[in-house]
């Protein structure tokens, strides 16, 4: 039975190297060609690059987070699919490089607070509020933090991956116990950096605004998209003849994860919205006004689509047990969630940067597909590096016989 795992070594490269690579090339041209249509197309391009990179880096990070959670909770059911989240983190180094480059070249286009005149007392543009935040929001510290986040994330993801692969070769439980300790350390790091990176990369776009829920909000969005990505990959791999031992019981658990955390995201969304709506203090409510009636109602449809596609749809469709066990339903919902949370990040970043001139055109779709292509290349490269089933994991038998 375990020998089947070795056969599965020829991972999902075929479909993704072909499909992902093709998309990548085609869309690269499209994005470049479409660039000339918009007025401030470089700004629009930089914001799009930033947004997509934050989204995909988050999904990649969730891969390691998922694995770490499974380790510290001594979970057995997920062993068969654990190589997929592991491989997702292969995008992290690429994401780090892109993040750094986009910041270096496009920081003024994305972040209002990077302009020097805001901090000059003699300047007519002097902004005492932003100047008061300069202890945290300054380019040097921002770059140090960015390097620190990616450094730590990449280190832990590679460390866990190394233990996991060594386990395949050596057997025994030493690697397993070590992985639990690494995971526990990573979760502490993740708890802090997931919040602070959300402040840095997303919240600081709306420099004047602040929300104590924001770290959670971005985490919830990343987490549910990451879970959707894992589930979708499992299904696609299974339908292409890999992961034969994964059955509807594993899918059921993944479906429960997606279902539960789409509700969790809504809960966080509403907790943030309700307080600002109720208090109705101008400097707080402006964030939602920009996204509803403000900006000439430009974002209104996305605001409601966001709730519909990320809450109502998964909630109603995945409610029954049968839906969570059927690949077609899970596929529908996970694709909807991945698109929906892309829109969610769009809604977080666009009003503060592009305002009324934002749109969803060739640049947006082109950049998104380009990033999807790069992500899939890194992801599938990771998948091919090791057996799809961790053959010497102490819980692999339990996972094979998983039954709910």
């Amino acid at each position: 039975m375990i020998a089947v795992g070795v056969v599965l070594l020829i991972a999902g490269i075929i479909f993704a190297a072909a499909g992902g690579g093709g998309e990548h090339q085609a869309e690269g041209h499209e994005a470049a060609a479409a660039g000339h249509e918009a007025v401030s197309w470089t700004k629009r391009l930089f914001v799009n690059l930033w947004m997509n990179n934050v989204y995909f880096s988050g999904i990649a990070l969730i891969g390691t987070f998922f694995v770490a959670i499974q380790y510290v909770s001594y979970a057995g059911w997920s062993v068969l699919i654990k190589r997929i989240p592991e491989a997702m983190s292969y995008y992290l180094p690429i994401g780090g490089v892109i993040m750094l480059l986009v910041y270096l070249f496009g920081s003024h286009d994305i972040f209002h607070w990077t302009h020097d005149y805001l901090y000059d007392v003699n300047s007519p543009e002097y902004d005492p509020i932003i100047a008061g935040k300069s202890g945290y929001l300054n380019t040097a510290f921002f770059l140090i933090r960015m390097a620190l986040y990616f450094g730590l994330w990449i280190m832990f993801s590679m460390w866990l991956r190394k233990e996991s692969i060594n386990e395949d070769m050596n057997g025994g439980t030493a690697n397993y116990h070590k992985s639990i300790r690494i995971s526990a350390m990573f979760l502490v790091v993740f708890g802090i950096t997931s919040s602070t990176s959300a402040w840095d990369w997303v919240l600081s776009i709306d420099t004047h605004w602040f929300s104590t829920m924001f770290g959670w909000y971005v985490f919830a969005s990343w987490w549910v998209s990451g879970l959707a990505a894992i589930t979708l990959t499992v299904i696609i791999l299974k339908q292409n003849g890999y992961l034969k031992m994964v059955n509807s019981n594993h899918l059921h658990d993944l479906g429960k994860f997606v279902f539960a955390f789409s509700i969790f995201w809504t809960y966080i969304w509403f907790s943030q919205f309700l307080l600002y709506w109720y208090a109705n203090i101008p400097e707080e409510a402006i964030y939602f006004i920009e996204r509803l009636g403000g900006n000439a109602g430009h974002y209104k449809w996305i605001f409601f689509t966001n709730l519909l596609i990320n809450f109502a749809f998964p909630f109603l469709v995945l409610m029954t047990r049968d839906a969570k066990r059927q690949m077609i339903m899970l596929k529908l919902v996970t694709i909807a969630i991945l698109v929906g949370h892309w829109l969610d990040f769009y809604l977080m970043m666009m009003p503060g940067t592009l305002g009324t001139s934002a749109g969803i055109g060739f640049i947006e779709i082109g950049t998104a597909l380009m990033f999807l292509g790069i992500f899939l290349l890194a992801f599938t490269k990771g998948l091919t590096k090791a057996s799809l089933v961790p053959i010497n994991h102490p819980f692999v038998e339990e996972s094979v016989h998983h039954h709910v």
Partner: protein, 174 residues
């Protein structure tokens, strides 16, 4: 009216699971199986259908949601309109927490009540213990005996050939 049962006593859970399969395949209806602890997969083997409790939960929740929305909209919007925090009389975001709570409450209560009714749990319930050892270290399979229909010796043979360590008869007074 009294009921008569033939009890097959087993001391191994795997033997029991196979016995259930074989005995059902032989066309004998099993009244109930008693076990000291939950046995994984026994529901499928016994042919017990999945609980329909989730459906009750869904409609309970739907009732709770409708009730909560109706209550707040009618009370705060029509019966006794009040301005709270400068918001419109009917302002949906403020109603969401109450709606959520009542949805959960109705859903939970409807499930508990439906469970009590369906499984006939009531204060006056008297439980007939067919064999006390089923709370300790034995598994007990009960098959109802119908006078003149059931062939006792054949049943005895069927149970024993499927690994029963003991076969008893028991009469229960209703």
């Amino acid at each position: 009216m009294n009921k008569k049962f033939v009890l097959g006593i087993y001391d191994d859970e795997d033997v029991l699971l196979h016995a259930i399969e074989n005995i059902r395949a032989a066309g004998t209806k099993i009244y109930e199986v008693f076990s000291p602890y939950p046995i994984h997969g026994i529901d499928d083997v016994l042919g017990i259908k999945r609980s329909r409790l989730p459906i009750v939960a869904f409609f309970g929740g739907l009732t709770g949601m409708s009730f909560a929305l109706w209550m707040q909209i009618w009370m705060l919007g029509f019966d006794w309109p009040m301005i709270i925090g400068g918001k419109p009389h009917i302002s949906l975001p403020a109603f969401i927490p109450v709606t959520f709570e009542l949805t959960v409450l109705f859903s939970a209560f409807s499930m508990v009540i439906a469970f009590f009714i369906v499984s006939n749990l009531k204060p006056s319930l008297r439980v007939n213990m067919l064999d006390k050892r089923s709370t300790d270290d034995k598994f007990v399979m009960a098959i109802e005996v119908k006078d003149g229909v059931t062939d006792l010796s054949a049943l005895n043979e069927l149970l024993r050939s499927n690994g029963a360590v003991e076969v008893n008869e028991k009469e229960v007074v209703k």
